[in-house]
């Protein structure tokens, strides 16, 4: 993890450091997948709902790892996407955001163990919106939260059940998660988590 002066801005220099590389991400997800199975004492009634954008590909990867550990699981059948755009508390302070699709597994969420999946947990407001969105869709038996990165600075009483890496940051820093399903750098797919600080 070195300091690499990167890219743009005529006057500013942005320092980035890589905190998780591709292998680190994969190991973290494997551990989270096992933790999910452990907390639930198996795969019964499990539903993984990814929060767009990057929560969804993470949910897909987690489902594959869970199916690898427990062959009775059909990975595609337990994954879904939960869009929280309409439930955000900051809609009127941002430019308009069109919503992403919400797609639930065919078996629904009533009485299920729903694990919300997101890439970064920060203020906690996205998860608060996700809980409101979830309640309008049905009544899960239990709701848990799995995140790849917890960077602190919570503004609401929200905590994750499963964390890939705890990353203390200052609010001036930006945490960027890049996954090959959604991101590329110079045209090449990439998997990494970086922290950007403006010098």
């Amino acid at each position: 993890m070195t300091s690499v002066p990167s890219a743009p801005g005529p006057a500013k220099v942005v320092l980035t450091r890589v905190v998780l590389n591709q292998a680190d991400i994969d190991r973290a997800l494997t551990r989270i997948a096992h933790e999910i199975l452990e907390a639930n004492k198996g795969s019964q009634d499990l539903v993984l709902l990814g929060i767009p954008r990057r929560g969804y590909p993470l949910a897909v990867r987690l489902a594959a790892k869970i199916a690898a550990a427990d062959p009775t699981v059909d990975a595609a059948a337990i994954v879904g996407q939960l869009d929280v755009t309409m439930f955000r508390d900051d809609l009127s302070h941002q430019p308009t955001r069109p919503p992403y699709p919400t797609q639930l597994p065919r078996t629904g969420i009533d009485n299920k163990v729903v694990v919300l999946i997101d890439d970064v947990l920060y203020s906690g407001r996205t998860i608060r919106a996700a809980l409101d969105a979830l309640i309008d869709l049905g009544r899960p038996r239990i709701v848990r939260l799995a995140v790849l990165i917890d960077r602190g600075h919570r503004e609401l009483p929200i905590r994750a059940d499963h964390v890939g890496k705890n990353l203390p940051t200052s609010s001036a820093e930006k945490v960027r998660v890049r996954l090959e399903e959604t991101d590329s750098v110079d045209g090449a797919p990439v998997n990494e988590v970086v922290i950007e600080a403006t010098a």
Binding site: F87, P95, S123, G124, R125
Partner: protein, 349 residues
């Protein structure tokens, strides 16, 4: 997008964005809790200078499903009897704190005046102005067509346009705001449009429009049509000599049982029949055609609520102090649960 006044200047990106957002809104209508909190605290005023219970209820349902407050203002006055002026009415609404004004007016251009002057600051949605435009009608028509067209192709409708779809619109084009809005939007979405009408009901200058024009409905059907849209025709027009009798009009330009059968004999098994309503059964469309399985009339009404929810959401949910930026075409194009998204969000968790 600050206002939705017409489809003529609606970009492909914004049009697809509205249609895609409407898909999500439609999903809300199938849930137990048919409500979203997105427009909580916003006030939508229905300012109707022309009677239209159906459109007004559709907008009201749309606003309420987004948790907005709705005020209905049935303005007095008409082209015959002048009531309170548009300017005074608008300023009264602004004083009452309207965030959006949904306006239906008998004078073409009234929504444009509202949006262009400084009488109000709210977002303006055109719910039909004179013979000029009815953008939400065209959008719900396109939404209906898109679902059908994508289903035939076996592809998801999200992000799709209407390239290659053959659409025929028949009726009183001269006096129809639905026809105009549809021609511009269908052109933008890549469909091929043919207008069918008697020469008296086509405007001078229609030859410059981005569509074909025909006086012969049967010939148009024979050339192949994927969606047949019938427009309402007022019988009273025969008194101004637009056509001699309603009987002759129906025979030549009405979608009667013969033409319904022709769809089968021509092998057009997937062709849908559309109508913006209200219908004059027996004049421009036969009862059998209106009630046939090909008819999408009820779906159009349902889709109207979803489209109007999308329009209200996209105009009102953002920071309304500044005009929302236009989404680039690439971002809007791929909007399914497709991981390969390049949407430029401000990330904040």
């Amino acid at each position: 997008m600050k206002h939705l006044l017409s489809t003529e200047d609606l970009s492909l990106a914004n049009a697809v964005r509205i249609l895609d957002t409407a898909e999500e809104m439609a999903a809300v209508g199938e849930r137990e809790v048919k409500k979203l909190p997105a427009l909580r605290g916003r006030t939508v005023v229905n300012l109707f200078f022309e009677d239209s219970t159906r459109t007004r209820i559709s907008f009201e349902a749309a606003a309420k499903r987004l948790s907005a407050d709705v005020i209905n203002f049935a303005a007095k006055g008409s082209s015959v009897s002048k009531g309170e002026s548009l300017k005074d009415t608008a300023q009264t609404l602004a004083a009452m704190g309207a965030d959006a004004v949904v306006i239906r007016h008998w004078a073409s251009g009234a929504p444009h005046r509202l949006a262009a002057t400084d009488w109000i600051d709210a977002a303006v949605i055109n719910a039909g102005d004179g013979t000029h435009e009815h953008p939400t009608q065209a959008l719900l028509d396109a939404f209906t067509m898109r679902r059908h067209w994508s289903k035939l192709a076996g592809t998801p409708s999200a992000g799709a346009d209407l390239k290659g779809m053959r659409v025929a619109i028949a009726g009183d084009v001269l006096h129809s705001r639905v026809a105009r809005s549809n021609v511009w939007l269908l052109r933008t979405l890549g469909a091929e449009v043919t207008l069918v009408a008697p020469p008296t009901l086509l405007p001078i200058g229609v030859e410059k429009w981005p569509c074909a024009v025909s006086f012969d409905l049967d010939e148009t059907l024979a050339q192949g049509v994927d969606a047949m849209m019938m427009l309402r025709v007022q019988g009273e027009r025969m008194n101004a000599s637009f056509f001699p009798t309603t009987r002759e009009y129906s025979r030549r330009w009405g979608f009667d049982d013969n033409r319904l059968r022709a769809l089968d004999t021509l092998g057009l098994k997937d062709t849908i029949i559309m109508h913006p309503g209200p219908m004059n059964r027996g004049l421009e469309i036969s009862a059998a055609a209106a009630d046939s399985p090909r008819s999408t009339v009820l779906a159009q009404v349902r889709n109207g609520v979803s489209i109007r929810m999308a329009a209200l959401y996209l105009l009102l949910s953002g920071d309304t102090r500044e005009p929302a930026t236009t989404v680039t075409a690439s971002a809007a194009a791929s909007h399914a649960a497709n991981p390969n998204l390049t949407y430029s969000h401000q990330e904040s968790h």
